[in-house]
Amino acid sequence: MNIINYLRCFIGIIQREALRFLQQQGRFFAALVRPLVWLFIFAAGFRSILGVSIIPPYETYVLYEVYITPGLLGMIQLFNGMQTSLSMVYDREMGSMKTLLISPLPRWFLLTSKLCAGVLISIFQSFVYLFIAWFWEVEAPFYGYLALVPALCLSGLMLGSLGLFISSVIKQLENFAGVMNFVIFPMFFASSALYPLWRIKESSLLLYNIVTWNPFTHAVELIRFALYAQVNYYSLIYVSISCVVFLSLAIWGYDPSRGSLARIKGN
C-alpha cells in the first residue's frame, strides 16, 4: 500500500459521506435552522438584556448577534460531531460499519478519514450559516473568513473525535438520547458560546471554573479570534491537546483487542 492507495481511500470515504449528506437534505436544513433560530430569535430577544463589553478580539462594542456567532459555529460543529457519532452507531447496527473496518488500511487511518469527511461537511454548513448571517449584519473582515477555515478544521476534528469516541462506547442507537442530555447540552451551555467568561465569573466561580475547563469553550474562543484574523494561542493549544486525547481514545475504542467493540456483540 503506497500513498496513492491511501489517498484513494481517503477520497472514497469523503465521497461516500458527501453522497450521504446530499441525500439527507433534512440533516442539512436541521443543522442550519438550529443556529439560525438562535440567531434570529434568541439573540434578538437577549440583545437588550445581555450587554457585551469590549473584550478581545472585539475592538468596540458588538451586537449580541455578533458575539454569539462563534458560539453558533461551534454549535454546528458540536452537533455535526455528534451526528458523526450517531451515524457510526447506526452504521454499526445496520452492518455497513464492517465494510469500513475490514479494509486492509490501518484502522486509525480509516477513522481519521471518516472524521475529516465530517469536518468538511461541518465547514460547508458553517459558511452557509455565515452567508445567511451576513444579511443579519453579522460581518467579519475578509481575512477573518480565511483564517476561520483552519480554526474550524481543528475544532471540528476535536468535536468529531469526541463523537467518534462516544460512538465506540454506545451500545445501541436508543442510548443516543443520553448523549444529548449528558454531552451536547452541558458542553454548549457551560461554555462561552452564549455569554462572556467575565459574566459567568461574576455569577458563579464554580461555573466559571467548569467553563474554562470545557474544551468546547476553547473551540469557541479559537473560532471567535480566527473570525477576526487573530490567534488565541491558549485556546489553540487547549483544542489541539483535547483533539489528540479524544482521537486517541476513539482509536483505542475501535481497536479490536482493547476497545469496547468486542463487548458489543453483533458487530
Partner: protein, 250 residues
C-alpha cells in the same frame, strides 16, 4: 510459499465476557479448497468470521491468511481476503455502483482499475442493469449477489461467506451456490462457507463441524458419512452433534 495454507487457525479462543464462544479452535484451509463450516445457531461461526476479519482479536492463539498474521500484518492479510457477512453490510441509501466504488476505495484501488472491476463483476453477476438503482430497491437475492460481487472486486485469494443464502428462496440459493462453486473451481480461490443449511453440501466438499465453540469433526462429506455409519450428511451431522451434546433434544 506454495505450501503456506490459505487460512491457518491456530488454537484460538474467544469469549464474550465470561461466556467462552470459541475454545482452542484449530484448522487449516488450503488454496483451492471449498470448505463448509457447519454449526447450529450460536455455535460460534459468526464470531469466528469476526476474528478472521479482525473485527475482534482472539484472546489466545493466532490466525494467518497466506502466512500473514491477521493482527500483526493486517494489511497484507486483509487485502487477500474477501468476505460476505451474514448481516447485510451494503449502504441501502446508495446505488449499487456507489456501494461498489466505495468498497474499491477502501481497498485503495485506483479509479480506472476499480471501474473496470466493478463493470466486470456486475456483468458476471447479472447486475449491470441495476447498477444505478439504490440497494434498498433490490430484492434479497439481488442484494446478496451484489455483496458477493463486491467481495470479489479486489480479487481476493481467500473468500469467506457467512450464511450467504440465509433467508433466500430456493432458486436464489441455488444460483448463488452454483456461482460460488464455479468461482472456486475457475479462480482457484480458497473458500470457507458457513451455513446451517445441510442440503447445500456436495459429497466432495470439505466439512468442518463447529459445536459449542469447538471443532468436533472435519473431513469430506462422504468420509464423515462413512465414519458415522449413516446414510447421508444430515444424519451424520445429527449423530456427531448428539454424541458431543450432553443435552437431550427437546
Amino acid at each position: 510459499m506454495s505450501k503456506v495454507p490459505a487460512l491457518n487457525i491456530d488454537t484460538i479462543s474467544f469469549s464474550y465476557g465470561k461466556k467462552a464462544t470459541l475454545k482452542n479452535l484449530s484448522f487449516k484451509l488450503e488454496r483451492g479448497n471449498f470448505a463448509v463450516l457447519l454449526g447450529e445457531n450460536g455455535a460460534g461461526k459468526t464470531t469466528l468470521f469476526s476474528l478472521i476479519t479482525r473485527l475482534y482479536t482472539p484472546h489466545a492463539g493466532s490466525i494467518q491468511i497466506y502466512g500473514y498474521d491477521v493482527n500483526l500484518q493486517s494489511t497484507e492479510a486483509l487485502k487477500r481476503l474477501g468476505v460476505v457477512f451474514q448481516q447485510r453490510t451494503l449502504d441501502m441509501d446508495l446505488t449499487v455502483w456507489q456501494n461498489l466504488m466505495y468498497f474499491t476505495s477502501l481497498h485503495g484501488m485506483l479509479r480506472t482499475q476499480a471501474k473496470q472491476r466493478v463493470i466486470k463483476e456486475l456483468e458476471l453477476f447479472g447486475l449491470s442493469e441495476h447498477s444505478n438503482e439504490k440497494v434498498r430497491k433490490l430484492s434479497g437475492g439481488q442484494i446478496r449477489r451484489v455483496e458477493i460481487a463486491r467481495s470479489l472486486l479486489h480479487q481476493p485469494q481467500l473468500m469467506m461467506l457467512d450464511e450467504p443464502t440465509a433467508g433466500l428462496d430456493f432458486s436464489s440459493r441455488l444460483r448463488i451456490n452454483e456461482h460460488i462453486r464455479k468461482l472456486c473451481k475457475e479462480e482457484g480461490l480458497a473458500l470457507l462457507w458457513a451455513t446451517h443449511l445441510i442440503d447445500e453440501l456436495e459429497l466432495t466438499d470439505q466439512v468442518l463441524i463447529l459445536h459449542h465453540g469447538q471443532l468436533i469433526a472435519s473431513g469430506e462429506v462422504k468420509t464423515l458419512i462413512e465414519q458415522t455409519g449413516t446414510e447421508n450428511i444430515q444424519e451424520a451431522y445429527q449423530k456427531l452433534i448428539g454424541i458431543n451434546d450432553e443435552r437431550k433434544p427437546l
